[in-house]
Amino acid sequence: MIEVKSLSKRFGDLWALKNTTWSVQDGRSLGLLGPNGAGKSTTMKIMTGLLCASEGEVLIDGENIMTHPILAKKKMGYLSEAPPLYDELKVYDFLKFICGLKSVPKNLRNGQIDLVIDKLKLQEVVFREISHLSKGFRQRVGIAQALLGEPRILILDEPSVGLDPHQVYELRNIIKDLKKDHIIVLSTHILSEVQQICDDVVILDKGEVKTQGPLSEILKQGRGQQMIIIHLSEYKEGLETVLQKLPEVARLELKEKTVNLWLASDQVPDLNVYINAIMAHGCGIRSIEQKQQHLEDVFIEVTR
């Protein structure tokens, strides 16, 4: 379990983080979202012991990263935004070096290295110099080093940044696979990635937690989870009042002859209810679209 309690970080006069509190339970994965400068990387750096918190604490399975850094760090693997790799080393030698740094017992080293090579599909580059690797393979080596020492927790700071769509797809599948037996904290700008991978979400903005909770709950926030767009052929005054009285309507917008309805339900809506109400009011319908609410919408709303 990871607990971030009243965490604040100040750089000079600037508060990069202000009293942020959140946690990740065992068996869950958390997406840390926020625009640039929101404090995501700062949070991750504090969590991994690269930075010191100005106030508050981070507990990794009950171990405080500031007072018991070695114990806490043994429980987690970290992939930074640009993984620090030794270009002159071969992948295998680098992984062996990391095993040494993490004090992996000698008799377990080869086994662990083989396992991460297999998990991250590094077989073809294992004896290649890191300087000769593509960005995608470098990210995979970065994740491989994070997995050595068998940490329960993986902290991934923008793992997909700079990758082409194929590489993003492959990496996403790898992370999904890792989710089965790791607590994952993922920071990313790709919101669809969070929707596919994470169970919980924390949205940061200007160093503050704007919203947090299970992904399904977050999606319900703001305007609702389901959206219906109704294009009218004919409009009559008073339609807004009629629609607002219908079940599950959380919010509506009317622009010219288009009605946007946000429903506070994650169930498939019965469109007949809305069609009948509109027709009964004397309006005509040209077309209806149904849209799944995306995290993007919530993100834009809370960080506006």
């Binding site: 991994t48 012991g49 690269l50 930075l51 010191c52 850094p69 070695i70 114990l71 760090k73 043994k74 970290y78 930074s80 640009a82 620090p84 790799l85 030794y86 270009d87 002159e88 080393l89 030698d93 062996k96 070096f97 990391i98 095993c99 040494g100 740094l101 993490k102 004090s103 992996v104 000698k106 020492g149």
Partner: protein, 257 residues
């Protein structure tokens, strides 16, 4: 506890051995030493013949005092510069190449990082001294060499060079600029080399004694004469330890910024 230190040592030694710069610097050191040793040997042989010819002695000059001790002193002066150049790999290059955070987020203590790097430096120093010692030892085929004196001379030099290496390690921890790291290491090393000069600028006996004691020459003098002075041994080791401790504090401070 040992594992991270060994990992750093292995990685850095391998790093040194795959760097062209290492071979360039060592190559220059070898050539320079070879030229100077040949020159000294020529002088030694000439002077020995002159002494014997003049009838002042029957067996020529003492090879240790007139040749090997000078060779050790020359090795000392050259390595002050060589160590400063090689030391940039310790931390400055890691910072510049942005690989330094690997140490910070790994479950290791700062002292393990510094000790690992220090041992790399000590290994380099020992290797360079073995190369240097090969010159006088090669004379063993032709003349009897006082091995005990050579051993103590090189032991003293090893301790002094480890002190310079600790200062260079500190310089390297202070900056991510490679050039500035070398310049800073040179400034530190030359300052240590000239520590005893202060006695020339004071008439106070207590200060003169102080400067004499901190002087590298003073302590090196015992070892060069083949005397194992425990006070000198501990002085050089504790000075080295102090500088490494400062380096450890600087590395630790990176975590808490």
């Amino acid at each position: 506890m040992i594992s991270p230190i060994a990992a750093i040592w292995k990685k850095d030694i391998k790093g040194f051995l795959t760097q062209p710069m290492f071979y360039m610097v060592v190559g220059m050191f070898l050539v320079l030493l070879a030229i100077l040793f040949t020159f000294q040997l020529y002088n030694f042989v000439t002077q020995s013949f002159q002494v014997m010819a003049s009838g002042q002695a029957t067996s020529g000059l003492n090879i240790y005092h007139h040749l090997i001790a000078n060779h050790i002193v020359i090795t000392h002066y050259i390595l002050v510069f060589v160590i400063a150049v090689l030391s940039l790999r310790f931390f400055s290059e890691e910072k510049k190449m942005k690989t330094f955070p690997v140490y910070l987020y790994s479950p290791i203590c700062s002292w393990q990082i510094v000790l690992g790097k220090w041992l790399v430096g000590a290994t380099m120093v020992a290797t360079l001294l073995l190369i240097s010692a090969a010159y006088p030892l090669s004379l063993m085929f032709f003349i009897k060499i006082p091995l005990d004196l050579v051993f103590f001379g090189y032991l003293g030099l090893f301790l002094i060079l480890c002190l310079y290496m600790s200062a260079a390690l500190l310089a390297s921890a202070l900056t991510d600029s490679l050039i500035f790291s070398v310049v800073l290491a040179l400034i530190f090393n030359i300052t240590i080399l000239l520590l005893g000069v202060g006695r020339e600028f004071t008439d106070l006996e207590i200060l003169q004694n102080f400067f004499s004691f901190v002087s590298i020459d003073y302590h090196f003098g015992f070892f060069k004469k083949g005397i194992f002075n425990l006070a000198s041994f501990f002085y050089l080791l504790s000075f080295s330890f102090f500088l490494s401790l400062v380096t450890e504090r600087i590395i630790e401070s990176h975590r808490w910024r």
